[in-house]
Amino acid sequence: MSGFPYLTLMTFVPLAGTILILLLPRDRVETIKRVAALFSLVPLVLAFAVWAQWDQALPRAYGMVLLEHAEWIPSLGISYTMGTDGLSFPLVFLTALLTFLAVVASWHMISHRQKDFFALLLLLETGMMGVFLALDYVVFYVFWELVLVPMYFLIGIWGGPRREYAAIKFFIYTLVGSVVMLVGILALYFGTGAETFNMMEIAAAAESRIPARTQLWIFLALYLGFAVKVPVFPFHTWLPDAHVEAPTPISVVLAAILLKMGTYGFLRISYPTLPDAAKHFVVMFAALGLVNIIYGALTAMAQKDLKKLVAYSSISHMGFVLLGLAAGTPLAIAGAMYMNISHGLISGMLFLMVGAIYDRTHTREIPALRGLYVTVPVIATVLAFTAFANLGLPGLAGFIAEFFVLAGTFPVSVTWVAMAVVGMLVVAGFNLWMMQRILMGEPKQEYAGLPDARPIELFTYVPVVALILVLGVAPGVLMRFLNGPALEIVQRLGGM
């Protein structure tokens, strides 16, 4: 269990960066930016290091890699336990990569109160890392809530015109959801009587020791906390507001990582711990997943604001994760996990593109944009690439995820698949229509001579585009992580 504390460092190095930035004087903006970049680069380097040694001699226990353990509140069975596995590691990697890119993207985009901004962004990274790495419920919850505060300020201070409303709405929705989740966690703790908040030990004891009816209630309490984050219809209304008002780099983090905290919660906690309750609610999961897919897609179609379109498209894609969970076959679960990552990359990229366009034209109104292929060819090409990935073009990451989910759902219910396919058609429709309207056509006079992608922007695009491509043609790169956890969850469900 001992060894190099990769996970602790990945989690707390950004926090050290926050503290360092707070100590720097306000006007040393260049230094602050460099510190932020450096301290967000460290977790990324560490993540690469872990990836490189994944199959080798990393210490393993409980099916977890790199387990770190220290007593914190022994009288209540609370310990600082961190660990990762094939389920969380890809998300950790995504967090490290996209936070670093968000820092780089903020370099020129954030023009006031840079000190506060970068300090909060790094604090946010600590929270997100901790959520994916914590294996103790209380530590998990502490990190889960830690995400809330910096996000509130990041939207509220640097956001668009309706930032105040969006920030507080995000805050209250998630706070209520997560506190109800806390009650569920406590019910698990006392229900199992295991005197521990360790996730694995509670998962091992919950099914046999808690009455079936209580399990359903606990499942719903946890569900509320996670569903708000995903977000599942009808808890989704904070998302379009928050995404649209947030500054571009924060929209990227929101879409790419924060939403995954919800689906990660289902996969790490709800399903393995309360599989019977999960099976009981399969129809609810499937129905709400399908609502997410179709409703999200139709609403996206109706948007005139490019950023809102991307936001609703996120709701649609998260529906696939829910559908995969409902189907409960190894392929569908793996597909759901795959979707977590591919959607993180694609939606993050889309928000970057929207930001790049807005930076130049100062509008996000789709009807006001035209002929970007001619004015900013590089940006337009990358946007087209990402939009195709978003609509599920074979050869790109989104396709693999959707294919796995649908192929895995097919043996369970053809109806679900058919309905999801309808949603996919609408997704394809709004992506194509959006491209047609803003990329093609006669370029507008006032947009002539706009600068194309700057080197620093290309620097943020290249790694994401490359990953979308790699995950589209070589799914094995990611599947080697996901196979094991997906099978384990299916075994817990008692199927296949």
Binding site: P74, E145, L146, L175, V179, L186, A187
Partner: protein, 503 residues
């Protein structure tokens, strides 16, 4: 041994009298010396109290001393340490304020010391008479403290309202105590095990049987009402907002944590044995078994009304007054669940609440010393003008809302835990709803500080707002405590459990 035990009280009393004498010879800027003397006295008393900790932990001081008038159990010593720390922080916050507002420094310092003395007596006795004496000592000092801003009408109003309701509450408490005396046959309070034996009628020990459990139950209900006034539970809360708003701000800070925590200590001392005892049969037993339900109803009322009314406040002192009412409601949840863990949670929450509420008040006082008004709208653009003060207030508010990793989170977490464990998850859920409501009014201040640009450019030009060493120290101490109480949850919760175990 006995004298060692009351050494903190003796030091505080001596310092208080000394300050009054010293005050005769102080003039002009020298008046600050009164405050410094008070600080030195409180610090010395705090050291003396801390030195009692190890022996108290080993149970060597459980007494009873002087016919049970004084006990030195873990509970008493823990609360004495808390009260002295609160007094110390409040006095640090007050010295500059008192000088600037031309308040009588000597009287102010002496009154704070006497109020702290009364609080220590309340926590350090098992005898109803001594608890009442402590309560009145604190109360009388508090009435005067509220009215010390002699050129401010609202300060006078605060004092008179506080006095009238306080006198009524004292009368109710005294009447309740007389009935409890009638019921128990003694002014000495039993601990839980002695009480259980006494109620069962035939204990192997020499404990006297309870002559009249019914009288006891009626007396206890009166005590709930009387103490309810003191800690401002709904529906006995109406005096608090006016008193809090009108009193000098350091005094408000003191009211909201000091006498309140002391009254809760007395509540724990009086009610704990009845809450955790084994149920007894018969009508009397049923009457006593109603106590937790009474606390549950009061908890729900108090937190809900406190939070809802706080939402519409425009004055930050008034807002914090309603917020402190709401927090009293959260604390009652620990009594309503009536388990050892619930009582420990109450104790831990009182520690956390003292740290975070004093932190919030420290910022209000700091800003007020620099001419910032007490209206929520006076805080517009503060993050630009006084970034440190704004950030400190955010930390205090995050803790008051109950977001990790602060002490406020762990306090609520412990209360939640106690409620879920006692199969009262509904109470925990109501706390959740209330927590969400409370975001609203804390948020209003944070929004003004961070999301609103400074209204008049002049305010920004006012330049940085430096904290004086005393206010800066007090604020740092409370904020460090807000973060440290969470990380040190294990030893503190253990201490709280130990303290309440002896009740």
């Amino acid at each position: 041994m006995e004298w060692n035990l009351v050494l903190p009280e003796l030091i505080v009393t001596g310092t208080g009298l000394g300050v009054l004498l010293l005050d005769l010879f102080l003039t002009g800027g020298g008046r600050r010396a009164a405050g410094y003397t008070g600080l030195a006295g409180l610090a010395a008393a705090l050291v003396a109290a801390l030195r009692l900790m190890p022996a108290a932990g080993r149970g060597e001081l459980a007494g009873p001393f002087w016919q049970g008038m004084v006990v030195g159990d873990q509970f008493a010593v823990l609360f004495k340490v808390l009260f002295l720390a609160v007094g110390l922080v409040v006095l640090m916050l007050a010295v500059d304020f008192v000088e600037r507002r031309r308040m009588p420094a000597g009287e102010f310092t002496a009154l704070i010391l006497f109020a702290v003395l009364g609080m220590m007596l309340m926590a350090g006795s098992r005898d109803l008479i001594v608890i009442y004496l402590g309560l009145e000592t604190t109360a009388v000092a508090s009435y005067v403290l509220a009215g010390l801003l002699r050129d401010d009408v609202r300060s006078g109003e605060a004092a008179i309202k506080y006095f009238l309701t306080g006198a009524l509450a004292s009368a109710v408490i005294l009447f309740g105590m007389s009935l409890v005396f009638g019921g128990l046959g003694s002014t000495g309070l039993p601990n839980a095990s002695a009480l259980a034996e006494a109620l069962a009628g035939a204990g192997p020990s020499a404990a006297p049987a309870v002559p009249s459990p019914l009288l006891l139950a009626v007396g206890l209900v009166l005590l709930v009402a009387g103490f309810g006034f003191k800690v401002a539970l709904v529906p006995f809360h109406f005096w608090a907002p006016d008193a809090y708003e009108g009193a000098p701000t350091p005094v408000t800070a003191f009211f909201s944590v000091g006498p309140k925590a002391a009254a809760f200590a007395a509540i724990l001392r009086v009610f704990a044995p009845f809450l955790v005892m084994v149920p007894v049969s018969g009508v009397e037993g049923k009457a006593l078994a109603l106590l937790p339900s009474i606390f549950a109803v009061l908890a729900v009322l108090t937190m809900t009304v406190g939070n809802l009314v706080a939402l519409v406040q425009r004055n930050i002192k008034r807002m914090l007054a309603y917020s402190s009412i709401a927090h009293a409601g959260y604390i009652l949840v620990g009594l309503a669940v009536a388990t050892p863990r619930g009582l420990a949670a109450v104790t831990y929450y009182l520690l956390a609440y003292a740290a975070m509420n004093l932190g919030a008040f420290a910022v209000v006082i700091w800003l007020n010393n620099h001419g910032t008004g007490d209206e929520v709208d006076d805080y517009v653009g503060l993050s630009q003008r006084a970034p440190l003060a704004a950030a400190a207030l955010v930390v205090a508010f995050i803790s008051l809302i109950g977001i990790p990793p602060t002490a406020g989170f762990f306090g609520k977490f412990y209360l939640f835990m106690a409620a879920v464990e006692a199969n009262m998850a509904w109470l925990a859920v109501l706390m959740v709803v209330n927590t969400a409501i409370s975001v609203g009014y804390y948020y209003a201040v944070v929004r003004n500080m961070y999301l609103q640009p400074a209204a008049e450019p002049g305010a920004r030009a006012a330049g940085p707002v430096p904290a004086t060493p005393l206010v800066g120290t007090a604020l740092s101490v409370t904020l460090v405590a807000v973060l440290a109480l969470g990380l040190l949850f294990e030893p503190l919760a253990r201490l709280a459990g130990l303290a309440c175990g002896g009740l």
